[in-house]
């Protein structure tokens, strides 16, 4: 609705209320993953014991999401479908290797499919979701306990801000060696971006100063931000470098 009011999306005379569909609500454990209903709000994410236990990185992102008033109504499904490169929950979902659960009922028959989140985003505001589909849930694999997870958001003020850049890191840490490293960046490309080169620079390594510097340099090289009025491309690259160093320093 806000996008339609702002003239960015055509007004649809037929609107469907999803709020009363129970399957779209709630966080539940489903085998070795967490199923987070698309209508779970930022506030609910922050308060969910399951989310807090298994993916605290989402709690961090929800905590830095807009304001209390917005957190009470904004849903994770809405944030994902909005597909803003700066969307706060998108970066952690990428770092968590989540899946998007889509459902449709084309001929009276309920069908569903799951799409890895890394494939879901196609451009600013554009996703793989077909016109007749809705996002029902996000599925997050439950990894080994005690992983390092961190979400970092940089804006020009501490509250109510849209990221100039954001960083999500998720990795196993065994005796100081990182493995299963996933790094994601927000607001540095047309879609939230997995940092494959950065991950490669970290995988199987001890976090020494030299490794951190190599990873940060790789990150600066692999992002491809644009100049816009929130930040220049140059500043975004610099911040990806400097802030990733800060995040990784916390992991040592």
């Amino acid at each position: 609705m806000p996008q339609s009011k702002a003239g960015r999306v055509a007004f649809e005379p037929l609107l469907l209320g999803l709020r009363r569909i129970p399957e779209l609500h709630g966080v539940a454990r489903d085998g070795d993953s967490l199923r987070i209903g698309a209508l779970v709000t930022m506030t609910e994410l922050m308060e969910s014991a399951l989310v807090r236990a298994h993916c605290p990185i989402l709690v961090e992102a929800a905590d830095q999401f807009a304001s209390d008033q917005v957190r009470n109504v904004a849903t994770i499904g809405g944030n994902v479908c909005n597909a803003s490169p700066a969307g706060d929950t998108l970066v952690p979902l990428l770092a968590l290797d989540a899946e998007v659960e889509l459902v449709a009922k084309p001929n009276g028959l309920l069908t569903g499919r799951r799409v890895p989140i890394g494939e879901f985003f196609k451009g600013p505001g554009k996703t793989l979701r077909a016109r007749h589909e809705i996002v029902a849930a996000l599925r997050v694999p439950i990894g080994v306990p005690g992983r390092f997870m961190r979400f970092f958001k940089l804006g020009s003020r501490p509250a109510l801000d849209i990221s100039a850049i954001s960083i999500g890191v998720c990795a196993r840490r065994d005796a100081g060696v990182l493995s299963e490293v996933r790094v994601a960046f927000g607001a540095v490309a047309p879609v939230p971006l997995r940092g494959r080169a950065t991950e490669a620079a970290l995988e199987g390594r001890q976090l020494t100063e030299a490794v951190i510097e190599t990873a940060a340099a790789a990150a600066r090289d692999e992002v491809h931000p644009i100049d816009d009025f929130r930040a220049s491309a140059w500043y975004r690259r610099e911040m990806v470098h400097n802030m990733l160093k800060k995040v990784l320093a916390d992991a040592t």
């Binding site: 940089l154 020009s156 003020r157 501490p158 509250a159 109510l160 801000d161 849209i162 100039a164 009025f229 929130r230 930040a231 220049s232 500043y235 610099e238 911040m239 400097n242 802030m243 160093k245 800060k246």
Partner: protein, 794 residues
């Protein structure tokens, strides 16, 4: 008797009288006012920045059911230009010069119909060359933005020298210029041991009043015009509306519903106001026209973007020698009061510190940008940003501490400056020393400086700045006065009818306090009427931090007259001289013994029902003892001057450029504290406004278009960023001020950007002369300084 309070009200913490209504949602702002039969007015603004209008087709809009009037310039042949230079026609018929330009307007039954009608209006344009940089607008051969205007004759074309050859540039785009000289700058420069020169660039910010602009135009059956308006200068606007509409000012009545903030933005009239009147005239129905928030960002005024070139000198012993200033103001497409901010900037350049030789030349240049208006501080934030950074630069150049240099050149009480300002009271030195002591300035300054080159990415900085601003009105108009009427009823309830407008600054509370103090009554026995030109006596309006001082003196004058009448009647009744009485705690008492003679309410009743019940009203008009400036801008324009010093402590993250404001230590010469709660609120609010100017707020204008017309991307300071504040009041007890007070409305916002700039320099050794200090701008400046240092080392 239930009125036991006998203590003085002065200096107490008194909650604002309008606070309960505002906090409980009872206040009815202009958007809540609905007049029977009203239509909704909306304006079609240009979609081009600079273009010739080839055609406007309103046929489809006119045909839309529910539309009562559609107007363009062609429909209002009698429209007249508004603004300080009368260069702004409400409806633009031939050329649009900025994105906010008004092309057409509709009055319709509902908001939805009005919006739909706007979409049906077709405008054909032919683009003209864009001029969005004042330096481009001065280039030889630049397009003239107002070819119809006579070019301004420059008295000192040399003023353009920093940027252009004065003999070979486009002076036709100059909207206004000012030239001021004291002493002989060349002599001052010859006497200097150190000279510094810098360029400073100040950006666009806007007021962000919580209440958006709006007006309701309602013609009465007798043809008189009733305007519900958010103006902060109702009496001047009444006259201006009359001129624009070609009607007798006596037939215009302005009612001000409670105003959701002004901060100077409501000093000018804007095209939307006459347009609402034209719509009401055409539709023969009242028309309500309220901005959307986006429209407020696009079509309300801004603070002046200014380019300042400043050259200053000092002797080895710390004596300032000269200051030479040129400023280039981006006027935008039309001229508003904002173009006259050099009046105020001049005072800071010439008189904040003692400087024997000073010249100041300035031009305001037309561009196709949004036009700037008046904004709290009126140029002083910009001037102080430059002057106070130079105080630090000069101190550094001669190896003196910044505090010592300031103290050595600070004004003293009794001083008459070369510009003719007479500082009858002046607390600048106390402000400086109080702030230095309470913030631990000198030790922190040295420690931070020593820490600049140490390892670590978090740097602390402390910086200070001072300010001078008018604090006793400003004699700009023929009169700088204000009238008061007091009505004392037969139950000793007082109605204070004042010309002074309440725009959220707390004037009605402080004026009530002053009256109750004179009459020995509690705050519960007073009501204020201050929003209707048919009722209230004349006042020049809310500007120049004048209301407490001017309207306060006027209110006191009326209260004293009332008291004299009471004492004269008491003298007869009690057979004592008039001097023998006093009013305390709602009682008439003997001044010497405090013995109660009679309840004031009872005595007033007896006066009411006596033969000559003339006590019902007293009126008093106060005109401050200030003077108009002469043609060289010299003269004692204010009855008093306000002073302040603020020190800002910051933490700067060199890896991101993020500046966190930790603490502000301020000392303000306010003459005297009248309402402690009110003045704290005023100062805290001003500090936060100054903080936004320094750190976060940035109205981004590119190619004449505003890129962030909303609160998502126009970043006001939010609660977690508000720093710790330590505010001291320096009470110099001004002889002319009401109970000794001076004006303080604008003062607290003025120093902040300069103090933060000095703190950044203290933290990093890098001086940034361009606002705002957003993380990217600071980071970029640090990177540039590192690159430069690297080059030097290589």
């Amino acid at each position: 008797m239930g009125k036991a309070e006998t203590e003085s009200l002065i200096g107490k913490r008194i909650p604002k009288m309008d606070a309960p209504d505002k906090a409980s949602g009872k206040t009815r702002y202009i958007d809540d006012v609905n007049v029977p039969g009203q239509l909704i007015g909306r304006i079609l603004r240009s979609s081009r920045v600079h273009a010739r209008i080839k055609s406007i087709d309103t046929a489809a809009a006119r045909a839309l059911p529910g539309v009562h009037a559609v107007l363009t310039a062609a429909d209002v042949p009698d429209q007249r230009a508004i603004g300080v230079s009368k260069d702004n026609l409400p409806f633009k018929g031939d050329v649009v010069r900025s994105l906010r330009d008004e092309i057409a307007a509709v009055a319709a039954e509902t908001e939805e119909v009005a919006a739909a009608a706007l979409k049906l209006i077709r405008v054909e344009y032919e683009d003209l060359p864009l001029l969005t940089d004042p330096l481009e607008a001065l280039k030889p051969g630049a397009t003239l933005i107002h070819p119809e205007r006579e070019p301004v004759a420059l008295k000192h074309p040399e003023a353009l020298r920093p940027w252009y050859d004065p003999d070979n540039c486009q002076t036709g785009n100059i909207a206004m210029s000012f030239d001021y000289t004291q002493g002989d700058v060349a002599r001052g420069e010859a006497e200097s041991d150190a000279v510094v020169e810098d360029s400073f660039r100040l950006h666009y910010v806007t007021h962000c009043c919580m209440g958006v602009s709006g007006v309701i135009a309602d013609f009465q059956s007798n043809g008189n015009l009733l305007l519900y308006s958010n103006t902060q200068v109702p009496f001047l606007h009444r006259r201006e509306f009359a001129e624009v509409l070609g009607i007798d000012p006596g037939r215009i009545r302005i009612i001000q519903p409670p105003i959701g903030g002004g901060f100077g933005s409501k000093l000018d009239i804007y095209p939307f106001e006459p347009i609402a009147v034209f719509l009401a005239r055409a539709a023969r129905r009242p028309v309500k026209l309220i901005f959307t928030r986006e429209e407020e960002f696009i079509a309300s005024p801004t603070r002046q973007p200014v380019l300042i070139r400043l050259r200053s000198g000092v002797k080895k012993d710390g004596t300032l020698t000269f200051r030479s200033v040129t400023t280039l103001h981006d006027n935008g497409a039309y001229t508003s009061w904002g173009a006259t901010t050099p009046f105020v900037m001049m005072q800071t350049f010439s008189s904040l510190y003692r400087v024997p030789h000073c010249d100041y030349h300035t031009v305001a240049v037309y561009t196709n940008n949004p036009y700037a208006g008046s904004f709290r501080g009126y140029g002083n934030l910009q001037a102080t940003f430059a002057v106070e950074q130079h105080m630090d630069r000069l101190a550094e150049a001669i190896g003196m501490a910044p505090l010592a240099l300031r103290l050595a050149n600070a004004q003293n009480p009794g001083e008459v400056t070369p510009q003719g300002m007479h500082f009858k009271t002046c607390g600048l030195k106390e402000c400086l020393s109080t702030v230095a002591e309470r913030s631990g300035f000198e030790a922190k300054f040295r420690a931070n400086r020593d820490n600049q080159r140490m390892p670590g990415t978090l740097k602390r900085g402390i910086g200070m700045a001072s300010m001078l601003h008018v604090g006793g009105g400003a004699k700009i108009y023929p009169s700088d006065g204000c009238g008061t009427i007091l009505k004392l009823d037969d139950f000793a309830h007082v109605t204070l009818i004042t010309g002074a407008s309440e725009i959220g600054q707390g004037s009605e509370t402080v004026l009530s306090q002053l009256v109750c103090e004179e009459l020995g009554l509690p705050m519960s026995s007073i009501t204020v009427v201050n929003n209707d030109t048919d009722i209230t006596p004349w006042d020049v309006g809310v500007h120049a931090s004048r209301t407490t001082f001017i309207a306060g003196n006027s209110a006191i004058g009326a209260a004293k007259k009332a008291r004299e009448k009471i004492f004269a009647a008491a003298a007869k009744k009690f057979d004592l001289p008039a001097e023998a009485f006093a009013l305390r705690g709602g009682l008439l008492v003997r001044a010497d013994t405090g013995e109660t003679l009679i309840d004031l309410a009872k005595f007033l009743r007896s006066m009411h029902f006596s033969e000559k019940a003339e006590l019902v009203m007293t009126s008093f008009y106060y005109e401050p003892p200030s003077h108009h400036q002469d043609k060289e801008f010299k003269g004692d324009v204010s009855a008093a001057y306000a002073w302040a010093t603020q020190a800002c402590e910051i933490e700067l993250d060199t890896t991101s450029g993020m500046v966190k404001l930790l603490k502000v230590t301020g000392a303000h010469d306010v003459g005297r504290v009248l309402n402690r709660l009110g003045i704290e609120g005023q100062i805290e609010g001003g500090i936060v406004m100054g903080q936004g100017y320094a750190l976060t707020e940035d109205l981004m204008v590119k190619d004449g278009r505003i890129r962030n017309p909303g609160f998502r991307d126009y970043k006001l300071v939010t609660a977690p960023e508000i720093p710790e504040m330590d505010i001291s009041f320096i009470e110099t007890m001004d002889g002319e001020g009401p109970q000794g007070a001076k004006g303080v409305g604008e003062a607290p916002a003025i120093c902040m950007a300069a103090a933060v700039a000095n703190a950044i320099a203290n933290a990093t050794g890098v001086r940034i002369t361009e606002l705002p200090f957003t993380p990217e701008n600071v980071y970029r400046a640090l990177a540039a300084a590192r690159a430069q240092a690297g080059q030097r080392a290589a």
